[in-house]
Amino acid sequence: MRNAAATSTPVEALPPRAIPLAELPVGASGEVEGVFAVPPTGQRLRDLGFHPNTRVRVVRRAPLGDPIVFELRGYRLCLRLKEAASIRVRPLSSR
């Protein structure tokens, strides 16, 4: 799971496969493909900025692994793994 971004990078020609945001490793970035959650949660995640094509970076995890801090749209937000798993992102190759 941790290597999802790394394994998808060598295949330059194909667009990277979307993975749950929760599986993006710390330091990596991705582009939101969509939010797949029931209405109140999905609505709220979009209100917070998780619209398609939004760039998200994983800043760090809490000492106990959950929740996770993300950076998007010029601010930092933390979500639990559960909600972060409902957001699908296309990993961006670093640099």
């Binding site: 959650a37 109140p40 949660t41 609505q43 709220r44 995640l45 979009r46 209100d47 917070l48 900025g49 619209h51 398609p52 094509n53 939004t54 760090r60 809490a62 000492p63 106990l64 692994g65 959950d66 929740p67 801090v69 998007l72 749209r73 010029g74 601010y75 930092r76 937000l77 933390c78 979500l79 639990r80 559960k82 909600e83």
Partner: protein
């Protein structure tokens, strides 16, 4: 324009996300003249301030912080209802407040608000921070792109406020958008991109100070250690450092009561003023040092940006019990006193988590239980050691542990039953570290303290007086041969409360309590520690703890000749105090914070049931053990 329209104040509403600098701007615009209240029927705070701009009166309403106008949370429902004029007069103009550094996010919200057909302006805060981080925004272009006035301010320094005030005086003159942003949610993000493409000349770089601090504060080891250190310090502050001020208030109230007895002729009037009225006012004031200190530190940590980090570190553990990181601080504060602890739940955005935290906070061992624990443990637990630990200390620790674990268990139970799940996910912004201004802190602390005095204070005072009446009437016959304390004892036993204690005896006998403990329990409804003073009166022991300790140890049942305070009774009474909600101040603050009598009634009932059952089981268990 008619005369009437000129006379009625202009209504302006401030809209924006949490952390957008909305409250700082509100304070800068209105000074410290804000009126704080609640919207009817809900716990959402209502803040309004009246100002005069360019000779025109205006009321500025600070709406709750929201990320969206979709009515998914109670806060957003309130915002929508205020905008629609369902809660008082609808605002005549809207001021959207947004952090200049995260315009990319805020414009999603702006797109929603711009659908409304009233004058709107956008105020960008933290423009100094944007510049410091190398960001450049073209404000005139942003104005043209949105079609509404845009102003940049630095709220805490007052920069740009004069210009903003001039703008606010004439909303009728504001530009209205020729073309509204797209209505469909899926087109909103592309619209934001297109606006940003023309106005954002250079994106703000990373907040380097925040990054550097976070590397330590959120480090798995250093961050956890710092979290523990700050929480211990916080606990120490409200638990120990408030004590001198509380003692000062206590002795001042005592001196005032004594002065009344000196100056007024002995009788009902003097007794009422000294023991009813002044004692009641004292019961209110005694909380002020803790509330002021707690909220000072709480708001300081919150405004600095640490509170979100602390909640982030502890969230995983609180999540196990159906709560979230922000509930931790409130429960920790409740170790000192449930009143500030319950007030601290205001920082919890999820209404369900907030309610559950409020309902379990009184189970945390507050400082008012300490005098009771000290008396009973001191009198009945032998001062021996187990290994290198004192048995008395271990007993005390056990009681603290019992309260805390029960609080978490009840929280988990409530989240799985009555107050199930959450319609909203857990999310929390981690704002950059910022130094709050003294002015902002002062207004926040004053807001909390004055709300406590007005709302809870009045209830506490009223109940104190009622309890005084119950403990005083009907008046005992004077017998000139009795000493003062004998008169007091006789009066107490024959008062309404004393009779109620006797009437209560069949109910509390299964717990191992006699009528004297019954009177003590009734009196402790005012505040837990009152039972010590009441027992002292009943046992004619004066107020000194040691002699009361000896008196209760020596007391024997007139029928059986066995000690009234046997091991089973003492254990049962201690357990009763761990669980029961004998504290009118907590009930009053629960009423104030939940805006109904339903939740204090619920908390009182479930805690009483818990206390009764646990005491009964403890009494039986210890009786069986000691008999064997």
């Amino acid at each position: 324009m008619s005369e009437v329209a000129l006379d009625s104040p202009l209504r302006l509403a401030l809209l924006g996300s949490p952390n957008s600098g909305k409250t700082t701007l509100f304070n800068a615009l209105t000074g410290l003249r804000a009126k704080v209240g609640n919207y009817s029927g809900v716990t959402v705070e209502r803040r309004e301030g009246e100002i005069v701009i360019e000779g025109r009166r205006a009321v500025v309403v600070d709406l709750p912080g929201t990320y969206s106008l979709h009515p998914t949370s109670p806060d957003e429902q309130i915002v929508n209802r205020v905008l629609d004029g369902e809660l008082g007069d609808a605002p005549e103009a809207l001021i959207i407040v947004a952090d200049a550094c995260s315009l990319e996010r805020s414009l999603l919200f702006v797109a929603q608000v711009l659908q409304r057909d009233i004058p709107i302006c956008l105020v960008l805060t933290m423009t100094d921070e944007l510049h410091a981080r190398g960001g450049v925004l073209d404000l005139p272009r942003l104005e043209r792109a949105l079609g509404v006035p845009v102003r940049g301010v630095v709220g805490h320094k007052g920069l740009g406020l004069g210009d903003l005030r001039r703008l606010l005086a004439r909303p009728e003159m504001w530009d209205r958008p020729h073309l509204r942003p797209p209505l469909a949610e899926s087109e909103r993000a592309p619209w934001v991109e297109s606006v940003l493409a023309s106005v954002l000349i250079r994106r703000a770089g990373p907040h380097r100070i925040t990054d550097a601090i976070d590397r330590v504060v959120l480090h798995p080891i250093a961050g956890t250690a710092l979290f523990a250190a700050i929480m211990v310090g916080f606990f120490q502050l409200i638990f120990a450092w408030a004590t001198p001020a509380m003692n000062l208030i206590d002795s001042a109230v005592g001196a005032a009561a004594a002065a009344v007895h000196v100056w007024l002729p002995p009788g009902l009037a003097a007794d009422f003023i000294a023991d009813g009225l002044i004692a009641g006012i004292g019961a209110v004031l005694i909380f002020l040092p803790q509330i002021v200190l707690l909220f000072f530190v709480l708001y300081l940590l919150e405004d600095l940006g640490y509170m979100a980090r602390a909640a982030f570190v502890i969230d995983r553990i609180m999540g196990r019990f159906g709560l979230e990181g922000r509930c931790f601080v409130s429960l920790l504060s409740s170790y000192a006193c449930a009143v500030p602890g319950i007030m601290a739940t205001r920082t919890i955005p999820s209404p369900r988590n907030r309610l559950v935290t409020m309902l379990v906070a009184p189970l945390m061992t507050c400082s008012a239980r300490l005098p009771v624990y000290t008396l009973l443990i001191g009198a009945f637990v032998p001062a021996t050691t187990v290994g290198f630990l004192g048995l008395q200390g271990l007993a005390l620790l056990g009681l603290y542990f019992l309260g805390a674990t029960t609080a978490l268990a009840v929280a988990a139970l409530l989240k799985h039953t009555l107050i199930r799940g959450d319609s909203l996910p857990f999310y929390m912004e981690l704002p950059p570290y910022r130094l709050p201004t003294v002015r902002l802190l002062a207004s926040q602390v004053w807001g909390a303290a004055s709300a406590f005095l007005r709302r809870a204070g009045t209830i506490i005072l009223a109940v104190s007086i009622v309890l005084w009446v119950l403990l005083t009437f009907p008046r005992a016959e004077q017998n000139s041969e009795w000493t003062v304390s004998q008169t007091k004892q006789f009066g107490l036993e024959h008062s309404f409360a004393g009779r109620a204690g006797h009437a209560l005896e069949p109910l509390i006998a299964p717990l191992g309590f006699d009528w004297k403990i019954g009177v003590g329990l009734l009196a402790s409804l005012a505040a837990r520690e009152v039972i010590v003073a009441t027992l002292a009166q009943i046992y004619v022991a004066g107020d000194s703890g040691t002699s009361l300790r000896q008196a209760i140890r020596a007391d024997r049942d007139p029928d059986t000749g066995r000690p009234v305070f046997g091991p089973a009774t003492v254990a049962s009474l201690l357990v009763f105090f761990v669980f029961a909600l004998q504290c009118m101040s907590t009930l009053a603050i629960l009423r104030r914070e939940s805006n109904s009598w339903r939740w204090p009634a619920f908390a009182f009932t479930y805690m009483l049931c818990l206390a009764y059952t646990a005491s009964f089981v403890t009494y039986r268990l210890v009786s069986a053990l000691t008999a064997a």
